[in-house]
């Protein structure tokens, strides 16, 4: 019974994807887009700076407090 339900769900998606028309183009765009976003942009251009530079939340807190309490370097004029 369980296998049959899984099979039905699989067939539902399988047949759905197989019979797509414009959907094939759209899925191609989605996949290219996700590869660019996660494979290139996220890895090479958008590191999470606090996670990358510090190991613990305590270190991250100290860093941000240091930045926030040093306003002389962060004013408009």
């Amino acid at each position: 019974m369980k296998r049959s339900l899984l099979h039905k769900v699989f067939q539902f998606y399988y047949q759905g994807f197989r019979s797509m028309t414009v959907g094939k183009t759209l899925w191609t765009i989605i996949i290219i887009k996700l590869i660019i976003m996660f494979g290139i942009l996220k890895i090479f251009f958008f590191p999470n700076i606090l996670k990358r530079n510090f190991n613990t939340d305590e270190e991250r807190s100290k860093h941000v407090i240091e930045q926030l309490t040093n306003p002389n370097t962060i004013t408009y004029d």
Binding site: V22, N48, K62, Q67, T73, I74, Y76, D77
Partner: protein, 519 residues
């Protein structure tokens, strides 16, 4: 310093670019989902196969927009971690919780039921398919709720405490965050703007079919559904717009002053309907703010404070302080000047530093002392990063004109929907070519209005990332400006390519029409 400001400006430009492109895709999804659901409901109730054909056609265009737009919002989250790391840390779980809920809901509701909606025709029962379509619509709109709640919190930080040990804001009351008056108005105003956009999109495409004398039944029926939905939504949009403006008057008076080009406050202030601002006007010069203006007497006082004679502070009042206002607890207060707020902000920032030094030294008495100073002045924390009182003034011309574009087009859309309904019921729409062409050209106008709304909301609240608590330049990461410039150009190219792809595929599908609607 100059390089640092470059990072701030480029990061702002990059965030604006990605947010505006993202918002090109989202509103059509929000509104078209409901229009499709109404059409399919009629199909299920009547059994008329023409309605199924109509639903499937709009579903195809929905799919194109959804596929191209999906995940464009993720870029914004990348930017939080890289360009806005101080901000990301500072907001803590205020942002994390709503965005996590959004992610989970979007994944389970939209992804699951979108598959049934596209693949399930003739495979699942009519009622289950209809339920899936409605759940896609509800799921998309609920996803929008969480990100808009997070945005509203930035405009009106409620339901949180600042923890000086971690430099993070901690949510102490989820419901205060979710049901803050700013969040409710923002959510309702934003989603109803999506409904109006989708309604005009459907009418515009249908009008094109009528001009080409094809798909007549589909076009006529779609126009009636979209125009009725659009009129109701546009009226609701005006109602929630009034609510939003009221909240702005209470919580972000500088934004209201910028929206109105109001420099000198007065009792019984009029609402400027149209006007031209004097170029290069400074807050402290003697120039008349307007070259010309047409205003409705006392209306701004009424809309902002529900009292025709209420005092509405202008830019100069907000900078100089000294006027009387009623605070959130209903007490009369004398407004502080920007300089006084800046001084208190600097005290708060210093207290945070001293508190942490005392904490490192294990001096609990001193910690208690500095914590009390911090809490006493925390409402003005962000002002401590400013040196010049004029820094609290946003870009007035951009805010003023964007507001007029949004509101002017909003009222035009109400009249447009009413006129379309009138012509449709009089059976005169099909031959009114100028109305049909106008309908087609309404599509870019509604996108313009939609973008203008966000410009008012986001430019008008500058310099704040979090109102009064964190200005933009304190929120940004110390990273290389050239890296942000490179990604700015990359995003501009990628998003423009996606937009061109969407428009091309959309036009192709519209030309093909419903007979080969595809999946």
């Amino acid at each position: 310093m100059t390089e640092y400001l470059d990072v701030v400006d480029w990061s702002r430009a990059q965030f604006a670019l990605t947010a505006m492109y993202h918002w090109l895709f989202v509103p059509l999804t929000l509104g078209l989902a409901f229009i499709m659901a109404f059409m399919e409901t009629i199909y299920v109730r009547t059994g008329n196969e023409e309605w199924k054909r109509i639903t499937k056609f709009w579903q195809t265009l929905f799919g194109v927009n959804f596929a191209i737009g999906v995940a464009t919002g993720l870029i914004l989250e990348f930017e939080f971690g890289t360009n806005w790391s101080n901000y990301s840390w500072f907001v803590g779980d205020i942002f994390g919780a709503p965005l996590a809920i959004e992610g989970i809901m979007a994944f389970f509701m939209e992804s699951t039921f979108i598959a049934v909606m596209f693949f399930g025709w003739n495979k699942v029962s009519k009622k289950f398919h209809l339920a899936s379509t409605w759940l896609v619509a509800l799921g998309a709109n609920l996803s929008a709720l969480w990100i808009l709640v997070a945005n509203a919190w930035m405009q009106y930080p409620a339901g949180m405490h600042f923890n000086p040990d971690t430099a993070r804001n901690e949510m102490h009351n989820f419901w205060d965050v979710l049901f803050s008056p700013v969040a409710i108005n923002k959510f309702l105003h934003t989603i109803s703007s999506g409904y109006v956009l989708a309604a005009i999109f459907v009418i515009g495409v249908s009008a094109w079919y009528l001009l080409k004398k094809r798909e007549i039944q589909l076009a006529k029926r779609s126009i009636v559904i979209a125009a009725v939905f659009g009129l109701i939504s546009a009226l609701f949009l005006a109602f929630t717009g009034d609510g939003s403006a009221y909240q702005v008057a209470q919580k972000q008076p500088m934004k209201l002053a910028a929206m109105e080009g109001l420099y000198e406050g007065q009792e019984g202030t009029g609402l400027v309907v149209i006007g031209a601002l004097t170029p290069n006007k400074k807050f402290d010069d003697e120039k008349d703010p307007f070259i010309f203006k047409i205003e409705i007497p006392k209306l701004l006082s009424f809309l902002g404070y529900r009292n025709f004679d209420a005092f509405v502070p202008g830019v100069n009042d907000l900078i100089n302080g000294g006027y009387t206002y009623t605070d959130a607890q209903g007490n009369e207060q004398i407004a502080l000047s920007a300089e006084q707020k800046i001084a208190r902000g600097k005290i708060a920032i210093k207290a945070l530093g001293d508190y942490n030094e005392a904490s490192d030294a294990g001096d609990t008495e001193q910690m208690k002392y500095y914590r009390s100073i911090l809490e006493e002045n925390f409402l003005y924390f962000g002002y401590g990063y400013l040196n010049d009182p004029s820094s609290i003034i946003p870009n007035i011309p951009l805010t003023f004109y964007s507001f007029r574009v949004m509101v002017g087009l909003g009222f035009l859309f109400i009249a447009f929907f009413a006129f379309i309904i009138f012509l449709a019921f009089k059976q005169k729409l099909q031959n009114a070519k100028w109305v049909l062409w106008t309908s087609v050209f309404m599509i870019p106008l509604v996108y313009l209005a939609s973008q203008a709304g966000w410009i008012v909301a986001e430019v008008g609240r500058q310099p704040w990332v979090i109102q009064d608590i964190l200005p933009t330049m304190a929120a940004v990461s110390r990273i290389d400006a050239s890296a942000v410039q490179i990604t700015f150009v990359l995003f501009a190219v990628i998003f423009t390519a996606l937009l061109i792809a969407e428009i091309k595929i959309m036009i192709k599908q519209i030309k093909i029409g419903p007979k080969d609607g595809g999946k």
